[in-house]
């Protein structure tokens, strides 16, 4: 079973050195920065309902990010991570999937989750780690997950979800229901060994998985120029014998069209596809860093002109599918909902202390039951030291 790229068939007698930039991949773009359509570009088939759902999700995420960033600064939540500037990449790609397809996020894809139907209340319950959080208050804010929405729970270690997506998609292929997995990660995480492991295994085992790299130019403070020497992430696909697309991540129509085609290839041809969405992380990495320490105002200003919402909004208005007033009113509605749910979630108690030993295994083993009893005995002795749980310990 010789590989199609057999290395011994094509022999030359003159020494040939292949340059490191032999593969250059262009960026697919439909909407220009002002929201007009590029000459010769064909927009994907998107009806008004779908376009407005994408836009509303985008507005919601922008509002959510802004409010929750502020809530962290006010000390109401411990941590937050904004997706400002990258909303088109996550929402446009999620919109191109089937609901049954699995989404595995890195941590900056709240847009995809909102598009799937995660409610404002569910966002707030997770961010406030209260007893209604699906994750039972166990992980830091923004580590969302929801089985009912086919959105895998986020974990902090970078890139670990990449080979997992390959395995998940292998199971989908075996089940034969025509479903696939889309996995998000950043250009920084693409330096992790798990990136190589996941892509190589997917290419070899031919599984329906879409590797969606959000190249937002920064890994915390490290610019992409210090992350890799080549032409970004997309050319790496060729090394794995995999198809690749590079797309303007701030153009929601291009992202949608690229993901739609990647999904077709994944499901119909059982081939993995790597998408690299070019974007810019307009916010800091998280609430724990300040971008002014590692990049210039001029650079931020330049990218503000390329951000994804203005061009989508301009296009919609020009198309006559929404008016300025309607768009503003929608934003005000989102704001009302977020503020109301934020206030509510803050009041919901922390998960009961008994939850601390649940889900380590399917049922708690003896040693954990004993540790819980000892803990409760201790809390009874010092209730004031454990205010979040002592009321629930009788």
């Amino acid at each position: 079973m010789a590989n199609k790229a057999a290395t011994t068939n094509n022999i030359v007698t003159q020494l040939e050195v292949i340059p490191g930039d032999a593969i250059k991949i262009p960026t697919f773009q439909l909407l220009k920065e002002d929201g007009t359509v590029n000459k010769g570009a064909k927009l994907p088939e998107i009806d008004k309902e779908l376009a407005l759902k994408m836009f509303s999700t985008m507005q919601f995420i922008r509002l959510l990010d802004e409010r929750m960033f502020a809530a962290q600064r006010q000390g109401r939540i411990s941590f937050y991570l904004s997706s400002l500037g990258e909303e088109a990449a996550s929402i446009g790609s999620a919109a191109a999937l089937k609901f049954e397809d699995m989404i595995m996020g890195q941590y900056r894809e709240q847009g995809a989750l909102a598009y799937r139907g995660f409610t404002v209340e569910q966002f707030m319950d997770q961010l406030f780690s209260n007893e209604k959080d699906l994750g039972k208050g166990r992980q830091m804010p923004v580590h969302y997950g929801c089985a009912a929405l086919n959105f895998m729970t986020i974990s902090s270690p970078l890139g670990t979800q990449i080979p997992q997506a390959t395995g998940y998609a292998y199971g989908q292929k075996q089940d034969g229901k025509g479903e696939c997995t889309l996995v998000y990660f950043g250009e920084g995480a693409a330096s992790e060994g798990d990136f190589h492991a996941g892509l190589n295994m997917a290419a070899v085992s031919k599984v329906p998985v879409i590797f969606f790299c959000r190249n937002n130019r920064y890994a915390i403070s490290t610019p992409s120029t210090e992350q890799f020497a080549g032409d970004g992430i997309a050319p790496r696909a060729a090394g794995y014998g995999m198809k690749a697309i590079r797309v303007d991540g701030n153009d929601i129509f291009a992202v949608y069209a690229a993901t739609k085609e990647a999904r077709r290839i994944a499901v119909e041809e059982n081939e993995p596809v790597l998408i690299e969405a070019m974007s810019y992380r307009m916010a800091g990495h998280s609430t724990s860093d300040d971008p002014t320490g590692y990049r210039t105002k001029e650079e931020e200003e330049e990218w503000r002109g390329k951000e994804p919402m203005i061009r989508f909004r301009n296009w919609l208005i020009k198309k006559g599918w929404i008016t300025e007033e309607e768009a503003d009113a929608q934003m005000a509605e989102h704001k009302k909902a977020v503020l109301a749910e934020l206030k509510k979630a803050e009041q919901v108690p922390a998960p009961h202390v008994d939850e601390i030993i649940e889900d380590v295994y399917d049922t708690p083993p003896e040693h954990l039951k004993k540790q819980l009893e000892a803990l409760k005995e201790h809390i009874r002795k010092y209730p004031e030291a454990y205010p979040a749980t002592s009321k629930g310990v009788k």
Partner: protein, 325 residues
């Protein structure tokens, strides 16, 4: 019943599991047509097809990551890591992902269907990188189960339990015994309980505890002690995590003495945890300090394998030290 060596018993367990449930998949380096470097997966690709028993690229972190994803999707992946010594590239996937999958998601998702098989242990002239016993690293990780069988009968029953247990299991196979241990094994399906130790031999003077290949070493040491008139109770721990404190504590309360014999380097081997817990539970019953016969705190040497190893003589001496304290 059939006479099987430990490898044949593993192969039989895998065969039974694959026949029982078509979401059982086996993968790893060289496990396909070749049947694995030890032949544990021999004949399975021919019987169940390339989709269910296949080679992976040479990437342990990928094997573990792929396995996590496949288990999360609802499958029963059985991932083989060719040698326990090469499991460390997969450490992050196992410790940060496998073990925390259910907990971190609030039971929205789990990888309970996952079993990772890996050969461990020395005595085969394997030097540093084909001899290690890394169970203690993983025993420090809530969410994993760790199982080590001592003979063919135990191997098949424990492996079948591990595959269908609703929690991820690290199944460590004593490779020194792969062909050396032979015994009667039922050809059909049967299971043995996880998390339960087994009293292999009853006795009254001293409890001698081990797991995996070390149980055979202990049996030899106890034979020697018996010639001195000692009545020793032998316990096979079988599960390292969660481990059966009750059975061990009950035995030590009866005998008043505990000797732990383990292959791994002395410092922070799993016997350290057993010793700490047993002194906590049985302090007033103990008539001697808990003794440990372990590997040396050095990398596993090649030429000095015999000297390094916690063999039956070192175990016998530990039994004597306990009795003569």
């Amino acid at each position: 019943m059939a006479k099987m060596n430990l490898l044949q018993a593993i192969n039989s367990a895998l065969d039974v599991a694959m026949a029982k449930n078509n979401k059982v998949c086996i993968f790893g380096e060289d496990v396909g047509h070749f049947g694995g470097v030890f032949r544990a997966t021999s004949g399975l690709q021919e019987k169940y097809g390339r989709d269910r028993c296949f080679n992976t690229p040479l990437v342990e972190q990928g094997i573990a990551g792929f396995a996590n994803g496949l288990a999360a999707q609802g499958g029963f992946p059985i991932a083989e890591i060719q040698f326990g010594d090469y499991i460390f590239p997969a450490f992050d996937q196992i410790v940060n992902e496998t073990a925390k999958f259910r907990y971190r998601s609030g039971n929205e998702f789990n990888v309970g269907g996952l079993t990772i098989r890996t050969p461990y242990g020395g005595g085969i002239h394997g030097g540093h990188y084909h001899s290690q016993s890394p169970e203690a690293y993983f025993a420090h990780t809530p969410g994993l189960k760790i199982v080590v069988p001592r003979n063919p009968y135990q191997a098949k029953g424990l492996l079948l339990s591990s595959i269908f247990d609703p929690n991820p299991v690290l199944f460590m196979e004593p490779k020194r015994l792969y062909r050396a241990a032979v015994g009667d094994v039922p050809e059909e399906e049967y299971t043995l309980p996880l998390g339960k130790a087994e009293v292999v031999k009853e006795g009254t003077d001293v409890t001698v505890l081990g797991w995996g290949a070390q149980v055979e070493v202990i049996e030899k040491a106890v034979e020697m002690a018996e010639k001195d008139g000692v009545s020793a109770e032998i316990i096979d721990l079988r599960s390292i995590l969660p481990w059966d404190v009750e059975t061990v504590a009950k035995s030590v309360m009866k005998t008043g003495r505990l000797v732990i014999s383990q292959e791994a380097p002395h410092t922070m081997a799993f016997g350290s945890e057993v010793a700490a817990t047993i002194q906590d539970q049985c302090f007033l019953y103990l008539e001697a300090p808990i003794m440990r016969a372990s590997g040396l705190d050095t990398p596993y040497p090649l030429a000095h394998e015999k000297e390094y190893f916690s063999d039956h003589l070192k175990t016998y001496e530990a039994i004597k030290r306990s009795l003569n304290y």
